[in-house]
C-alpha cells in the first residue's frame, strides 16, 4: 500500500507547475509570493493587505501578553518597580527561575508529569481511536446503541464523590493509574474522532477490503494513516489535559512526591515570595519580586507542553488523499 501525498491547495503542486514568465514573473516577484497552484489567481492587493493587517493584529494580541509574562519572569525588583508594561527587562535576572528550580522539587515533579503525559496520552489516544473507529463503521449491529451510550455519557457526568469511591474500591488511590484511567476516553474526543472516521471516503476502505485486507488491516493500513490529522489533534487535546492535571491529583494521590507540576507550582505562587522558600534564595540577597516568581511559574508550567504543538503540526499540513480516488 503506497502512501499518497496531498499538498495544500495554496502550495505549488510540483508536477503541474509552470514557471512564470515575463510580466507575470515580475509581478510575482514584486509581491514576493510563491505562485500558488497555477489555477489560483492572485488576490487583489487590498485584500492581501487586509489579510496581513488582520493577521498582524491577531498575532500581537496573542503574543504580547505572553511575551510580557516571559519578560516579567526575568525581571528583577528594579524593573518591577518601574511598572508599566515590560517587554524587555532592563536588569534581567534568573533569580526567579533559580528559586523555583533549586531544591529539586520542581524538577522532580516535571519528570513525573512528562512521563505521565507521554504514557497517559498514548494509552488514552489508543483506546479512543479504537472505539471511535469501531463505532464509525456502518453495518455493525448495535453500533448506534453504543454511540447513544457515549452521547449520554457526554451529557451526564458523575459526581466527584461517587467516582472517588469507585477509584478507591478499585485500589487505584495513590497510583498514577488514577490520573489516567478515570478519564480514559473523553466523550467529546470520541465523538469528534468518530465523525472524522465516518467522513473518510468509503470507496477507499471498500477497495482495500476487496483487495483482501481484513477489518483490522483496513484499520491499520488505510484508516489510520488517513487520519493522522485528527489523531494528532486528539493527542494534543489529551496531552494538554494530562499535563494540566490538578484536581484529580489532589483528590486521588496521597504521596506528595507524585504531585504533577501544576499542583507543585501553584503552591509556590500562592505562597507569594517569602515564607518557605527563604532559604532557596541566594543568601544575603533579597527575594525576587512576587510578580516575577509568579510569571516564572507560568512559564515553567506552560512552555514544555507548548513545545509539543509544532511537532504535531506537520500532521495538519499533510493529509493523505489526493489522487487515490481518481487513481
Amino acid at each position: 500500500m503506497s502512501t499518497i501525498q496531498q499538498t495544500n491547495p495554496n502550495q505549488p503542486e510540483i508536477s503541474s507547475y509552470i514557471p512564470p514568465v515575463g510580466a507575470e514573473k515580475r509581478r510575482s516577484r514584486l509581491f514576493r509570493r510563491r505562485k500558488a497552484a497555477p489555477w489560483m489567481e492572485d488576490i487583489p492587493w487590498w485584500l492581501a493587505a487586509l489579510k496581513a493587517l488582520t493577521l498582524v493584529i491577531i498575532a500581537l494580541m496573542m503574543l504580547l501578553p505572553f511575551w510580557n509574562v516571559v519578560a516579567v519572569s526575568f525581571s528583577s525588583a528594579q524593573d518591577v518597580m518601574q511598572g508599566g508594561f515590560t517587554l524587555w527587562p532592563n536588569n534581567p535576572t534568573l533569580e526567579s527561575y533559580k528559586a523555583l528550580l533549586s531544591g529539586g522539587t520542581v524538577i522532580r515533579s516535571m519528570r513525573v508529569t512528562m512521563l505521565l503525559t507521554l504514557v497517559g496520552t498514548a494509552i488514552q489516544v489508543a483506546f479512543t481511536t479504537m472505539m471511535a473507529y469501531g463505532l464509525s463503521k456502518p453495518g455493525v449491529p448495535g453500533s448506534r446503541f453504543f454511540f447513544i451510550l457515549v452521547l449520554i455519557a457526554f451529557m451526564f457526568q458523575p459526581g466527584m464523590i461517587p467516582v472517588y469511591l469507585l477509584v478507591r474500591e478499585l485500589g487505584m488511590i495513590d497510583t498514577y493509574a488514577s490520573l489516567v484511567v478515570p478519564g480514559l476516553i473523553g466523550a467529546w474526543n470520541l465523538i469528534i474522532m468518530r465523525n472524522f472516521f465516518q467522513n473518510l471516503p468509503q470507496e477507499l476502505l471498500d477497495a482495500a477490503r476487496i483487495d483482501g485486507a481484513s477489518d483490522i488491516g483496513v484499520f491499520r493500513h488505510i484508516a489510520l494513516p488517513l487520519s493522522k490529522a485528527v489523531i494528532a489533534v486528539i493527542a494534543l487535546f489529551t496531552g494538554v489535559g494530562l499535563w494540566n492535571t490538578f484536581f484529580n491529583a489532589i483528590l486521588y494521590l496521597n504521596d506528595s512526591a507524585k504531585w504533577p507540576i501544576q499542583v507543585v507550582l501553584r503552591q509556590y505562587v500562592l505562597e507569594g515570595s517569602t515564607i518557605t522558600s527563604a532559604a532557596d534564595f541566594a543568601p544575603g540577597q533579597p527575594p525576587p519580586p512576587a510578580e516575577s516568581l509568579q510569571m516564572a511559574m507560568v512559564v515553567l508550567a506552560t512552555v514544555p507542553i507548548l513545545l509539543v504543538y509544532p511537532f504535531l503540526q506537520k500532521y495538519f499540513a499533510k493529509g493523505v488523499l489526493t489522487g487515490a480516488i481518481k487513481g
Partner: protein, 330 residues
C-alpha cells in the same frame, strides 16, 4: 410452500431460495463485524464502569444526602441511605431567587458565545488556511493558541493590567485628557467582557480542529472548481465550507449540549469586581449553594437539570440538522 425452481439448462432443480430471516442476517452481520466489537468493547466497559456506575449515585438528588452517614453503610448502599425528599431539592432550586438570575445570565452569555465565540475559530482557521507560506501559517498557528494555556487567574490579571482602573488603556486616555473608562468593573459591560475574554483565550485553540478538517478536503475538488470557472469566493463557498460542514455541524450540536456550562473560574474570580447579579451563572450558583456547604444533593440536582436540558438540546439540534439534509450525529 416454497417454489421449486427449475434450471432448464441442466435439468436440475435448484434448492429453495428463501431470503434470510432477520435473525439470520443479524447473526451474520455480528460474525462478519466481530473484529469491530473487539475495538468497541473495551471502551464500552470503560463507560459502563466509570460513567454509568457512578452516575447511579445521582439518586442523591432525591435525598438529603450526608456523606458521613452514607459512609457508614458502605460505598454502594451509602448512596441510597439518605432521607428521601423526592423533588424537594429541585423545588428549592427553582424557587431560589438567585436561580432565575443565574439561568438568565447563563443563557444570555451562551447565546453571545454562540454568535461570536463559535464562528471565530472557524474564521480564523479559514484565514490561516489561506496563507501561502507554510512557515508563516505554522508560526501563526503556534502564536494564536498561546492564550489557551494561561489560567484564568493570570488572564484576568493581565486584562486588568490593560483595561483595569489603573491599566494601560486608562492611563493613555488620561494622558490624552479623555477621562477614564470602566471596563473591568462595569456590570453592564460584563457579558460582553466575558465573551471577549473567551474569544481571546480560545479562538486559537478552537481553530485547531477546523484546520485539521480543512486538510481533509481533496485538492482535486478545488481543481475541478477552477476548471468550472469558480473564483476565490466561490471556491470558498462551494468547496471549502461544504467540505468542513460535517465538523461544523457536529461541533455546533455538541456546543449546544454544553450550553449551560459557560464556565466557572472566569465568573468566580470576577464576582467581586462586577457584583453577584451580573456574574452569577449556573455553575457558580451550584457552587455557592451546594458544593461549598457540602450539600451534594443540591449540586447534583442542578447538574441533572443541566444535563437533561442539554441532552434535549442535542437531540433537538440533531433532528434539525437532519431536516436540513445533514446526517446529524445519531
Amino acid at each position: 410452500m416454497s417454489e421449486q425452481r427449475y434450471q432448464y439448462s441442466t435439468g436440475e432443480t435448484i434448492p429453495d431460495y428463501a431470503p434470510p430471516t432477520r435473525w439470520q442476517r443479524l447473526r451474520a452481520a455480528i460474525w462478519r463485524e466481530r473484529l469491530m466489537y473487539l475495538l468497541i468493547l473495551p471502551g464500552v466497559i470503560y463507560f459502563l464502569t466509570f460513567t454509568y456506575l457512578p452516575l447511579m449515585a445521582n439518586v442523591i438528588a432525591f435525598q438529603e444526602w450526608n456523606p458521613f452517614r452514607a459512609s457508614l453503610e458502605g460505598p454502594i448502599k451509602g448512596f441510597f441511605s439518605g432521607p428521601w425528599v423526592g423533588l424537594d431539592q429541585f423545588r428549592l432550586m427553582f424557587t431560589d431567587p438567585h436561580f432565575t438570575n443565574a439561568l438568565i445570565n447563563t443563557i444570555q452569555i451562551e447565546l453571545l458565545l454562540l454568535i461570536f465565540a463559535f464562528p471565530a475559530p472557524l474564521l480564523l482557521a479559514l484565514l490561516l488556511n489561506s496563507l501561502v507560506s507554510d512557515k508563516m501559517r505554522r508560526t501563526m498557528q503556534t502564536i494564536v493558541y498561546l492564550p489557551h494555556f494561561l489560567s484564568w487567574v493570570i488572564i484576568i490579571s493581565m486584562w486588568r493590567q490593560f483595561f483595569g482602573g489603573t491599566g494601560i488603556v486608562n492611563q493613555t486616555l488620561q494622558e490624552l485628557g479623555l477621562g477614564t473608562v470602566n471596563i473591568m468593573y462595569n456590570p453592564d459591560l460584563f457579558k460582553g467582557l466575558v465573551v471577549a475574554q473567551s474569544v481571546w483565550k480560545e479562538v486559537g485553540w478552537g481553530s485547531i480542529i477546523f484546520l485539521a478538517a480543512l486538510t481533509k478536503i481533496e485538492l482535486s475538488l478545488y481543481e475541478a472548481a477552477v476548471v468550472d470557472g469558480a473564483g476565490g469566493w466561490r471556491r470558498m463557498l462551494d468547496v471549502t465550507l461544504p467540505g468542513i460542514r460535517p465538523v461544523v455541524i457536529l461541533l455546533l450540536i455538541l456546543t449546544l449540549g454544553n450550553m449551560f456550562s459557560v464556565g466557572f473560574e472566569q465568573f468566580f474570580l470576577q464576582r467581586g469586581a462586577v457584583g453577584a447579579e451580573a456574574s452569577e451563572v449556573l455553575d457558580t450558583f451550584s457552587y455557592f449553594r451546594g458544593i461549598q456547604s457540602f450539600d451534594y444533593s443540591f449540586a447534583t440536582a442542578v447538574g441533572m437539570v443541566k444535563s437533561v436540558v442539554g441532552l434535549a438540546l442535542i437531540l433537538g439540534a440533531n433532528w434539525l440538522a437532519k431536516k436540513f439534509g445533514d446526517e446529524g450525529i445519531i
